[in-house]
Amino acid sequence: MTEYNFAYLDEQTKRMIRRAILKGVAVPGYQVPFASREMPMPYGWGTGGVQVSAACLTPEDTLKVIDQGADDTTNAVSIRKFFEKTAQIAVTEKTAEATIIQTRHRIPETLLTEDQILVYQVPMPEPLRFLEPSEVETRKMHALQDYGLMHVKLYEDIARHGEIATAYSYPVMVEDRYVMSPSPIPKFDNPKLESAALQLFGAGREQRIYAVPPHTRVVSLDFEDHPFDPSKAPHPCALCGAEDTYLDEVITDDAGTRMFVCSDTDYCGARCEAAA
């Protein structure tokens, strides 16, 4: 297959994206604008993450793609096939074997290492957007570190629901400087944002790239008397029995019977295999 340039994008575009990534790494949590390209998939299907992955891939890399923790969902399968076809790289479903992991809405349960890059697909990079519709104003707020409004949102949650009801896309403070949206990962995953791996965030439609370098301090916003709580469903996994993982609730028949299973299919599968 020689019709495609390596990893689909042309070299100039990849350089442009790499420059944005480097700037993002240099200023953790800052949203770097970049000239997002048309990709052969619709916006909302991971165009940002795919472009960041394409710019990071080398022929020696091993790629893993997950969607809501699973390797076998439509989005994950098609993106994995896309890079198999356009870059002829090795792919895997095992977290530990991958060098680049593209993810939608989850962080793998297995701890990542310094040799790995985690690429997030981000639909809405601006954590302040639903509070302040103007981009001019939100940029100014970031520049001036003017983040009182973010806590007003959390205050409203407590006033209305008795607790901070934001369950995903829970805002974080990066290196005591920028408030950042961690993409729509469950807040259960927020503590894992302080990682040994390089984490890159790509938003294709919104044309923004941002990054959290390895071992960067990432703090979830909260109140002193309502501390951050990375909650999960109070069940063990019905397949592997794990009690410390994020669970999907699966409805199994029309009578409302349900089971809770790990959303990270690789982690769950490996535990089941080890037990068998």
Binding site: D146, G148, L149, V152, E156, A159, R160, H226
Partner: protein, 256 residues
């Protein structure tokens, strides 16, 4: 005594048109200054220049800051000015919709300034919000209601609570009673007067309602076509107006 605010030759133009021209005055702690004049006389332009919402073309605005004494506000950096705007200063808009977040509860509106200056204890923020709603005569059972469910008078009182919660020293008011019916106006004026006296606030009140300045202001400034044409003690200006325009203004008030 150091003036709280000293304004020197403040000028703002909109292209070829004059917004306000060569305005100078001083305001001392605890003093309330009224600015009157007809629509288009430059009152609001002046107020917005003072409060940092508009950048004037020339002049100086020197504010006696808590930390460093008198400083030129216009030479401050944007973060400093924003900080001033939510600690030592307050701005009460004519239309509460401009000054409130309509989709956020009353408690959140009052708490926003506290959170913006670093309050991170939900219980404390809420207790302060309850306290301030009480002071502006809003029942604490309404604390989780949105301002859109409030009457016009309540919205204006909520806006005042939201502004005063950080204990400012200088309050800018742009037609605070505009658009309210007279009985509500009277209660609001009573409230403002009480708060100003009790907290020892300084205030600059822009209005075209002479009754409002008679009640609130110690001193009065009359503006016409962007210039100050007369200043003096409120009673003196209203009872013995010197400039022709002021005489017209005073004699235009309808007698009931």
């Amino acid at each position: 005594m150091t003036p709280l605010l000293e304004v020197q030759a403040l000028t703002k133009g909109y292209g070829g048109r004059i917004g306000c021209s060569d305005v100078s005055f001083t305001l001392y702690p605890g003093e309330v200054l009224g600015i009157v004049g007809e629509s288009g006389s430059g009152k609001s332009t002046l107020l917005n220049c003072l409060a940092g919402h508009l950048a004037p073309d020339a002049g100086r605005v020197i504010f006696d800051t808590r930390a460093d004494g008198p400083r030129d506000v216009l030479a401050m950096s944007e973060p400093e000015r924003r900080m001033l705007g939510r600690t030592d200063w307050a701005f009460v808009h004519q239309n509460p919709r401009d000054g409130l977040r309509m989709r956020i509860s009353a408690g959140g509106n009052v708490g926003e300034r506290l959170m913006a200056v670093g309050a991170r204890h939900y219980g404390d923020i809420r207790a302060q919000a309850v306290d301030w709603l009480g002071r502006v005569e809003i029942s604490d059972s309404r604390i989780d209601d949105r301002p859109s469910a409030f009457s016009g008078g309540m919205q204006q009182r909520l806006q005042i609570a939201r502004n005063l919660v950080t204990g400012p020293r200088l309050v800018f008011m742009d037609e605070p009673t505009g658009g309210l019916d007279v009985s509500v106006q009277a209660r609001l004026l009573d409230l403002i007067r009480g708060l100003v006296r009790r907290m020892g606030l300084s205030a600059i009140v822009v209005t075209h309602d002479l009754a409002v300045v008679r009640l609130l202001a110690d001193r009065l400034m009359v503006m016409k076509d962007g210039r100050v044409i007369e200043t003096g003690l409120t009673d003196q200006v209203l009872d013995d107006p010197q400039a022709a325009y002021t005489q017209l203004l005073v004699s235009s008030v309808l007698q009931v």
